[in-house]
Symmetry: C2
Subunit: 412 residues, 2 copies
């Protein structure tokens, strides 16, 4: 008999029928004798409906009131799911974030969890009840309702699992696990049985949007075994675990290929090669609240250099405008931008202990005549920026080069 | 400078535009320097939408979870109204029932208010904020969300006004006050400037559905001046006050004509005239949760009598079924029912001190050849049951007989 935390997202509870299906799933676990805490999101569409109402009223809605408003979405779902469980003969009790007492700071719309009071939930579990908790929300010291920001229900699930020392936190979603890459691009992409927290973080931030990144960080920090599964199909999903629990012998060099076409590239050309010049270029970009991803500066030739970096594609016009001003100030030659780029990354804890991973990657791309425009590396990831039109080809080449579309390895 | 409690019902906050209009109204009061606590209902249709969802999930929804569910309706409105007020430059803060701490008993879906903590609201008022409170909801000792039942937002308004010792509780609705009778039946019906709590109770329970009866009781008990006004038109509305504040000199004998076509009549004929027989007939009706209104028992002739009473029209089939069984048991002759009846009542504190009110009423009806089937009286009310087809005629006759459609009396 184990204690599980289940989390069901908006699509999984999007209709009355789907809520009934979630209740069936929970019933099956209870029948096996397990204790269950279930975290739910708002029914799909509901949060957007509420946000639209707010914007109809006030152009830039008050954050405190926004939290009062949107937190109703999950409150509706917890009540309906408890009713569905009661209908099936299980005792169940719903909790808003405030009722659990999921204590957060007071950063409305993006609050961070500080403490969770488990006493009431523990009492209900001991009494044989299913505990159903509204995801995404908490309460500050003063009793104000707060929310954790979009996707925060995953974080609620993991945080509850950590606080209750649950055996596993299971995130039910509309995909059946984490894949070696996007199956829409590479048909031979495989579901991973396991992945480490670190790999998952790199996969998530790079565009495999299965899990909220904060939830993965949280799970890693508190060593909560985390599993991603489908709400709609049976299957073991993907277990996200600590590196230590992942024997090196069986560890593949690369676990997955992530990619991202949301970025654009901007280059300031003919930058005078003087100390502090990179900062003079990037500081105004930061002040304009534009996030920068990959940065590359070439070696100086003729006392000038080129500085290239990528930004979110929606920010490219603003970034270019800022840089045109900077270019004049620092005496650089010109600003060139390109939004027809894509970023492809190989991710794997195995590359730490394997030399030659980078050359294998670059070689695979060269074989397909794909030119690499930028390169960045971390301990468990290598990313390249290439022309967007080569993206699918690059992903398929790398997937094959790192033997990801071979038959599943039994032991993984 | 006064402290007002405003209450806006579901129709008054039914759309984004109407919420903006409420914010304009509140702004106007603030501009005059008044302090304001605003109680709001769910946007019209929202509560029904939520209840329908619940019934789709569970035939007879769990009461605790029903309260968690439907209380979200008002929570949406408080957030939106605060946003609309902030947009107009006013500082405002929303409160759920739980955040105010409107402490209730734990009778889910029909909880009663036990205590209201005014400390936080008082702090906000002192700081110049508009306080916006979700109507209809509270919290029990254990922190469970409770609701006061349909129309409970009026009660919230009055209870807050009592707790805060507000100068007036203003209930904004879709009518501009309390009328001498339904203007759709009598075109010369007049809006009353004033009415006593007792009269209002009789009018409300008899079908003038302007205010929730519990709210009027509450206002009477705590002497909260209560005013009914239109959300959509300017005007003084109707002030509901204590009898003492209503000088007898100016008091009309009858303040209004109420009526009700929701009832049906059932008669058990040939009842053996033995002690306890009325109880043997009515006890099973009570056990079947059927509410009985008017009861009349005729004088016995030939050792048998007839017992007639009215029930809600939707209960008539169940009542008849129950009575058929009882009839056999007690040896009565037969059960006859009639759902083509209506009840008409004259209401007024003035009739206490005036003789001959009943005869004037019966005389007016006789002049129109309207047969009276049943009669009941209280200190400030006389009701008759008549054939339904004469209802409009009876109301018009009585309205005229008691000089209600004369020119408005200035002093009222």
């Amino acid at each position: 008999m184990s204690l599980f935390v289940h989390k069901y997202g908006g699509t999984s509870v999007g209709t009355v029928e789907r809520i009934q299906a979630v209740a069936d799933k929970v019933s099956a676990f209870r029948q096996q004798g397990h204790d269950l805490v279930v975290v739910v999101s708002a029914m799909s569409g509901e949060t957007n409906r509420l946000i639209a109402l707010a914007h109809d009223i006030q152009e830039c809605p008050d954050p405190r009131e926004m939290d009062v408003l949107v937190s109703t979405g999950e409150q509706v779902t917890i009540a309906l799911l408890c009713m569905a469980l009661k209908k099936r003969g299980w005792d169940a009790r719903s909790y808003t974030g405030s009722q659990v007492r999921i204590l957060t700071d007071n950063s409305h719309t993006k609050a961070r969890i500080q403490d969770i009071d488990v006493a009431n939930m523990r009492g209900d579990l001991d009494a044989g009840r299913v505990v159903v908790v509204a995801g995404f929300q908490g309460v500050d010291e003063q009793g104000n309702i707060t929310t954790l920001g979009r996707g925060g229900s995953d974080t609620t699930g993991v945080a509850l699992a950590a606080a209750l020392k649950a055996d596993e936190c299971q995130i039910y979603t509309d995909v059946d696990g984490v894949y070696t890459t996007d199956p829409r691009v590479v048909s031979s992409a495989r579901r991973l049985d396991r992945i480490t927290f670190e790999e998952m973080l790199e996969m998530a931030s790079l565009g495999s949007k299965v899990l909220q990144i904060r939830a993965v960080e949280f799970a890693g920090k508190y060593s909560v075994p985390l599993r991603v599964l489908s709400s709609f199909e049976e299957g073991p999903g993907t277990l996200i675990t600590l590196d230590e629990e992942y024997p090196t012998m069986e560890q593949p060099v690369v676990s997955g290929i992530a990619f991202n076409r949301d970025e654009a590239k901007v280059t300031v050309m003919g930058v005078p090669d003087t100390p502090g010049v990179a900062s003079r270029i990037l500081a105004p970009i930061g002040e304009a609240n534009i996030e920068v991803d990959v940065i590359v500066q070439n070696v100086a030739e003729d006392k000038t250099t080129d500085l290239t970096f990528t930004v979110h594609r929606t920010d490219i016009d603003r970034a270019t405008a800022v840089l045109k001003q900077v270019t004049t100030e620092i005496g650089a030659r010109e600003v060139v931008s390109d939004d027809k780029i894509a970023k492809v990354s190989i991710v794997g804890v195995g590359m730490r202990s394997h030399a030659g991973v980078a050359s294998r990657m670059f070689n695979a791309l060269a074989n397909d005549n794909i030119n690499i425009q930028m390169i960045t590396t971390s301990e468990i990831k290598i990313s390249v920026v290439i022309e967007e039109r080569y993206l699918e080809l690059a992903v398929r080449s790398l997937h094959s080069a790192f033997e990801l579309d071979a038959d599943p390895i039994e032991s993984r």
